[in-house]
């Protein structure tokens, strides 16, 4: 009995010692993973602040020596010479409406799908779920034809002069809708039925119930969707170069401008790195400020294509 107890306490102690070794191994592997994950971005950030002569001669890791020098010239250069300031504004002008429009239209549709009865409702919603994965590549040839005929591509005249981004606003709306409707309908469908029933008994119309009840109660889902769509549009390259045209430089957003710079700046890494960081600054701020909502948008829509 005693021997048995001693034996088992020895095993426990050995297990604990082995366990603390394992804890150290666990911490080390996590730190290693995180270092690997951060190293690429670190290199970029460091080089964007180094003089051109240094960047082409020595690796970014040499800045940890006391002789290293830093400069803001690269940022000044890309803002003045490479049109990054203009591209930043373009990105804003594209992203804000291309976020507001789909979220609003999807909220109307989601409310109808969740709280109004009509024939074919389930079938239509299943179709929306199917559309989640349609590749954008499969849609651009016919849509470009229509856009060219109407004259709202990047090279178009007429209305494209006043609203140069109309084509991308509409395209991002169309492409963003399946996910937006899916996410909002699932959330609105989970709201308590009694609230809408008692509002209806009190004589509230559909618009009142939507604006006064459904929308305020869906703020978490709306926030998640807005942030998700904002980052999606801000980071988009494909829609921009297809509907504005990779050749229409002054009308392009940051992503497309940066992609063009990788060709024209080739080995001028310091400028490329500064430009890359400018394109990431806003998403990083949004990400850190609203991380919780962003993650919720991602997990809520794991089936988005």
């Amino acid at each position: 009995m005693t021997a048995q107890a001693t034996a088992s306490s020895v095993t426990v102690r050995a297990g604990r010692r082995f366990g603390s070794l394992r804890r150290i191994g666990l911490h080390l592997s996590i730190v290693l993973i995180l270092v690997i994950w951060l190293l690429p971005t670190m290199g970029m950030l460091v080089n964007s602040f180094r003089p051109a002569a240094d960047v082409s001669r020595t690796g970014w890791w040499t800045v940890f020596s006391p002789l290293a020098s830093f400069t803001l010239d690269n940022y000044v250069h890309v803002f003045n010479q490479s049109g990054l300031g203009n591209a930043f504004l373009n990105s804003l002008f594209i992203t804000i409406p291309a976020t507001i429009i789909p979220v609003t239209i999807a909220a109307f549709a989601a409310y109808a799908f969740a709280w109004m009865k009509f024939p074919g409702r389930n079938l239509l919603f299943v179709a929306v779920v199917g559309l989640l994965v349609v590749p954008l590549q499969a849609t651009i040839v016919p849509i470009l034809n229509v856009f060219r005929t109407v004259g709202i591509t990047g090279s178009g005249s007429g209305i494209a002069q006043t609203f140069p981004f109309l084509s991308v606003w509409l395209a991002h709306t169309g492409y963003g809708l399946p996910f937006a409707i899916y996410l909002l309908r699932n959330y609105m469908g989970g709201l308590p039925r009694e609230v809408f029933e008692s509002a209806s008994i009190d004589g509230a119309g559909a618009a009142t119930a939507f604006f006064r009840l459904a929308l305020p109660m869906s703020v978490p889902a709306l926030a998640a969707l807005t942030i998700f769509q904002f980052l999606f549009v801000w980071n988009d390259l494909f829609v921009a170069i297809v509907y504005i045209g990779a050749v229409n430089g002054p009308k392009l957003p940051l992503t497309a401008t940066l992609a063009n710079l990788t060709n024209s700046l080739g080995g001028d890494w310091q400028y490329l790195m500064a430009a890359a960081f400018i394109s990431m600054a806003l998403p990083l701020v949004v990400f850190f400020a609203f991380q919780r909502y962003f993650v919720r948008g991602i997990t809520g829509g794991a089936v988005k294509g």
Partner: protein, 324 residues
């Protein structure tokens, strides 16, 4: 006045006003109709803008693209049967793109699902889990173009004897190895590009799998440990099977992501040195070679490859609805 200021004004004030005005207008018009008809018409008017946009941007063009894939490159679009598909399955360039897309599909899914499970399980055991999670998740917030630029620099290669400024070749130099031309030699270069994709997407898989992991009852795991199972056995017999539905969701999402891979390949060499993939080949056919018919054929192949995933998603959704 800068025309962009007008645009900005329209964008921020005009657009929401029009949209809200639409719903208020609909409700005002409906008041003119008898009450029973109101309830019948109302839902259709509320979903009308969405239906029109979905129809124009997704349904119509997908069908029209399939039709376009049977036509030649001229504006007259004469029907030429399956000639574009014949070209697709006989041209070396498109076959390389097809092969690479399959490599993307297999490896990106494997890397992201594997990495996601590993990190979710590891991070679950430490107190600084939130910090670790957001650092791993960070690449998903930046653009794929930005990620492409960052990694192009990671892979930067100078001839032996010249100073290596790229991070990876710097490391090779540090341990006395000759520099490697990561992005120049097929088919290994495609694998390096896929690793960039995995760098971006692993955080996504980790967040979703981690949420599922937290849903597993701790009592169940503890019971197995009390019965003498070691951590690996607990993982294989309990955790992994319970994670399976979530792994399936992540895997199907990654399959679609891999098939649509475009930005990273476009920025890191534009498909040169046999790194081309279907989505990028389609773009080249359309904009560089003036071949809308062939581009439509590539796009249609993409759609056909994605249809099984679409069916799977719809089935999964219907199963979820059934238990709601």
């Amino acid at each position: 006045m800068d025309p962009r200021i007008v645009t900005a004004g329209v964008a921020v004030i005009g657009v929401p006003a029009v949209l809200i005005g639409y719903i208020l207008g609909v409700e005002w018009l409906l008041r003119l109709a008898p009450e029973r008809r109101q309830a019948r018409i109302r839902p259709w008017l509320w979903i009308l803008p969405a239906i029109l946009l979905l129809g124009f941007f997704l349904v119509y063009p997908t069908i029209a693209t399939a039709v376009r894939s049977l036509q030649d490159k001229t504006a007259a679009a004469n029907f030429i049967g399956l000639a574009n598909y014949q070209y697709f399955f006989s041209s070396d360039a498109t076959l390389v793109a097809l092969r690479n897309s399959f490599i993307w599909l297999v490896l990106l899914t494997a890397f992201v699902v594997g990495g996601g499970i590993l990190t979710a399980v590891l991070f679950d055991r430490v107190r600084y889990e939130p910090v670790a999670k957001s650092l791993l998740f960070l690449p998903l917030a930046i653009s794929f173009v930005g990620a492409g630029v960052i990694w192009k620099f990671m892979f930067d290669y100078q001839l032996a004897g010249h100073p290596q400024i790229g991070t990876l070749n710097g490391i090779l130099q540090g341990i006395g190895q000759p520099p490697a031309a990561f992005l120049l030699n097929p088919p290994g270069n495609t694998v390096w590009l896929i690793l960039v994709g995995a760098w971006i997407w692993t955080g996504f898989a980790m967040v979703i799998l981690s949420a599922a992991l937290k849903g597993i009852s701790p009592e169940l795991l503890e019971a197995a440990r009390v019965d003498g199972a070691n951590e690996l056995q607990v993982f294989r017999a309990i955790t992994l099977p319970l994670l399976m539905p979530t792994i399936a969701v992540v895997a199907t999402t990654m399959i679609i992501t891999a098939l649509k891979a475009f930005d990273v390949v476009y920025v890191m060499g534009n498909g040169a040195f046999d790194t081309d993939v279907l989505a990028l080949d389609m773009y080249h056919q359309l904009f560089d070679f003036g071949q809308p018919g062939r581009a439509a054929a590539v796009a249609t192949v993409l759609v056909v490859l994605i249809i099984p995933v679409m069916i799977l998603n719809v089935r999964r959704f219907q199963a979820q609805e059934a238990i709601r």
